[in-house]
Amino acid sequence: MGLTLIEKILLRASGKRELKDFVYAKVDFCFGNDITAPLALKQFESAGFKKVFNRNRIGFVCDHFVPARDLKAANNVKMLKDFSRRFKIKNFFDINSCGIEHAFLLETALFSPGSLVIGADSHTCTFGAIGCASFGVGSTDLAATMSEGRCWFKVPSTIKFFYKGRMPKWISGKDLVLHTIGKIGVDGALYKVMEFTGPAIRKLGVEGRLTMTNMAIEAGAKTGIIEPDESTMNYLKRITGNKIPKVDIKKLKSDKDAKYDDVIDIDVTKLEPQVSCPHLPGNTKPVRSLKNVKLTQVVIGSCTNGRISDLRIAASLLKGKKVKKGLRVIIIPATPSIFRQAEKEGFIRIFLESGCVVSPPTCGPCLGGHDGILDDGEIALSTTNRNFIGRMGSPKSFVYLSSPAVAAASAVKGRITHPDEI
């Protein structure tokens, strides 16, 4: 019996000859952020751990409540900084050097296709798009891995999603993944891996693939994964400044006779842009059915959709236009280097001239942290990943999720809008 790509990576990392139900596997890179890592440090100290397994394979990325929103947030960042100094951890990243962890860490080449990565953040599944086995875990897991270099995993089964057909105009990775979550539900892949494959995935850019694996968690999945190809390596070379090591990507494929729990075919040919309605990501509808939804705020950014291709399509729709009077539009480039690239390509000027506000890289409003909190009755359309009750602020506010194209078009009209209308 063959193995899936996830099984191959777990087998290698377990150091065993065959996979059992559970593995205690060697981790290639582990990380946390300014809200999960402080709790990990507390666990690390109270456990009495005296050293870290490898100071180069641990990272702290400050991205959630930064630039520090208040004294407590500043204190948490300082806690990580002091700990990093004490244990000579090189990869402590504060605002000027990082940005949102699931975008930024790809720029560092600290791990590569085929790596086993854990992060104390649920969207760690993002790195599956480059062929990593990448799992979101909790703070205690991070603390234990920082000491032991190993983490326990139940070996997951996999569902294969096969995307075929011609991609219509305006359809992005976000639309594919929202459609898929709508189809299988928010626990449709519980404990399982979602492997995205098929000709439509091959044609999708790497950033669109990152958006898809990023949201695997929203279907309950353990992670998402996509076999890396030439375009993956070219992308990584570009964003790491050629720092990414050589990888034999031919080995990073699921075997033809690998066992899948299920294979789901999705024809993208007639797909319309998708929008998730309050208060679950699985509550998806085609954009045209929501054209009467008036908006108070639009957010374009996050680990899901704050990359350069996301800003590029938003800028192409906003160029020479004004955002609807009275609407708040917040653009958040995911990392400083994406911000610089957007500035170089003229997008930042387009955003500012159209009446958007451009924020420094941060998770900020996505999880109701800061910089764009909603009040009672306010309605946001956001390119982020969750629309739970109170996610962006008041429990009486409403969040819709969409692609950057739909968000930018809606910014012009002030209501949920198909990009064709612009």
Partner: protein, 160 residues
């Protein structure tokens, strides 16, 4: 043996419901506990008696990886969470932290306010209010080891 009153919740209770993100700059169990379920059930922490039990539908704890969620549940005095299914990271975090959880596919049989007596190791729930006994799914041996060690940290210390 765990004994307590039931507080019922529905399907897909997410980690933002359990503890809103604005409180995540705290690592204090008691403070997080005082804000538990604030968005969907204001006053929950105040009504709760120490030892009470949460009973929920499917996919409990979906959403973020925040360990502040099981910590908040522990911090407000809940002794056990029973659900039809758990989201993966919440499940893992609970085991790692030593928060007792049980998977029971027929949670609809249990009513808000019922008094349960639960034998965790045996996977038996006695519903004292309805005079019924239910059997739960057993944990795999590997997880049992961590649970019996009262969490991941103690499990690691034992291995050394």
């Amino acid at each position: 043996m765990i004994k307590g009153h039931v507080h019922k919740f529905g399907d897909d209770i997410n980690t933002d419901d359990i503890i809103a993100a604005k409180y995540l700059d705290s690592q204090d169990e008691k403070f997080l506990g005082s804000k538990c379920m604030e968005n969907i059930d204001p006053g929950f922490a105040g009504r709760l008696k120490k030892g009470d039990i949460i009973v929920a539908g499917k996919n409990f704890g979906c959403g973020s990886s925040r360990e502040h969620a099981p910590l908040a549940i522990k911090g407000c005095g809940v002794s056990l969470v029973i659900a039809e299914s758990f989201a993966r990271i919440f499940y893992r975090n609970s085991i790692n932290l030593g928060l007792p959880i049980l998977v029971f596919p027929d949670c609809s049989k249990i009513k808000d306010g019922d008094i349960l007596a639960v034998d965790l190791a045996g996977g038996k729930i006695r519903n004292l209010s309805q005079r019924k006994v239910y059997t739960c799914q057993k944990f795999p041996d590997f997880m049992r080891e961590i649970i019996d060690s009262r969490g991941l940290i103690e499990w690691i210390k034992k291995r050394k």
